[in-house]
Point group: D2
Chain length 135, copies 4
């Protein structure tokens, strides 16, 4: 993955703190894919009533993971408060989606994988929030 090499370059990115931010980026990339796959599979399966809420929370979560990746990768030096609030919204979306998908984990592999990726991403986002200054 190229992230680590190029992220070292820009002069106004702070090293040290960035490690946790990069873990959040990687987790959000994984989670975005898992949520998208879960939503697509729910729809392809004809969306049984039990999965109706699942697909919507997964789409919300995928959207927030993508914006988290964009902001955390762009790493605008003076925009820490925005990144912090975005990471928190992403973590909330991940937890909500995981809570919805987990009960379907045995019946649907895509729900199990989605719940796992969501929990990992929520944890990584909260870890990264701690590295950003509150303003």
């Amino acid at each position: 993955m190229q992230l680590h090499e190029t992220n070292a370059a820009p002069p106004d990115r702070r090293s040290g703190e960035d490690e946790r931010l990069e873990r959040a980026i990687d987790a959000a990339l994984d989670c975005s894919q898992a949520c998208g796959d879960c939503a697509d599979a729910c729809i392809a399966d004809g969306l049984p009533a039990s999965l109706r809420q699942c697909v919507r929370l997964a789409l919300d979560c995928a959207d927030l993971c993508e914006v988290t990746v964009s902001l955390a990768a762009r790493r605008t030096g003076t925009n820490d408060e925005v990144t912090r609030q975005t990471l928190q919204a992403c973590a909330t979306a991940c937890r909500r989606c995981a809570d919805e998908c987990a009960p379907h984990a045995e019946a649907h592999a895509h729900c199990r994988l989605c719940a796992e990726a969501c929990r990992a991403c929520a944890g990584a986002c909260i870890e990264a929030v701690g590295t950003l200054r509150r303003r």
Copy 2:
């Protein structure tokens, strides 16, 4: 615009509150375009040093406006806390971008338009936050 007509349809969207959410959607659509145009114009102009932070904040803001539109339009009934946090992050991004662009408003039309759209969107997002239940 189709939004109003179709938004009335889904059974689990609450009317009344939705008016402010739809204003936030419209404002975020406008703001996303204005931020994208501002960033593009900054880059096309060769990005003078004075606009370097401007382009990055505008890209962050455009990303958050887009996810706000997606979530608010999807209007997942049980995901209000996520939508609420996203609207707040969007409002913060809008205010930061407006503060950066406003001083360049006389020199660059794209900065003036961007600052105006950002302030309008921040206001509409905060208005909409009030309609969503805290959980």
Copy 3:
């Protein structure tokens, strides 16, 4: 809408041709919203079997409309061939989605609005393709 005012600014955008490109941007913005609303409404309705393909084509179409807006608004002077191919893919996605939604137009307002927006967008994209040089 801010587009017209700011689009005049960057020195390497060609005037004249840009009018049709801006109509494509406006049509793709409308279409992206209409497709997103249609997909959301299909899911909120519990996705009856008749609408299963509809939601997927609408999601594909919304994605292509969004990238069309980004590229056409960025209007990278030397990237005409990429913009041209993107406009064509967008037009194809719009036509496919319209063909799927139109038969449901009487039963579902969101399908009718989506089909209308798709046909308008397909037409505007094809018009705009003609303004871009083939390379």
Copy 4:
């Protein structure tokens, strides 16, 4: 990566052909990140004149990679022509961006990584196009 496990599930995805499509998804995910990193680094560096076109082509390319991932992962059975045209537009964007970044590869690590990811993605997209029926 979760993709392979979940992609096996939906009944209307055709196996065999999907392997090349999944390689395209993986390559487009990598390329989207590399292009985003390159654009961000160009801007953070103050966008010297030599990199001005680079950042715009990288933003175009990142946008097309993202839509390619979405469509190829959704894999709408009856939408092959749209996916095919999107893969081709993505390959064109990748080649254009690689041609622009390659001359800066020695001076800027982010340009080198971007050019490499672009060439890999262009190749994977063209491979995947061959698996989709022309309609």
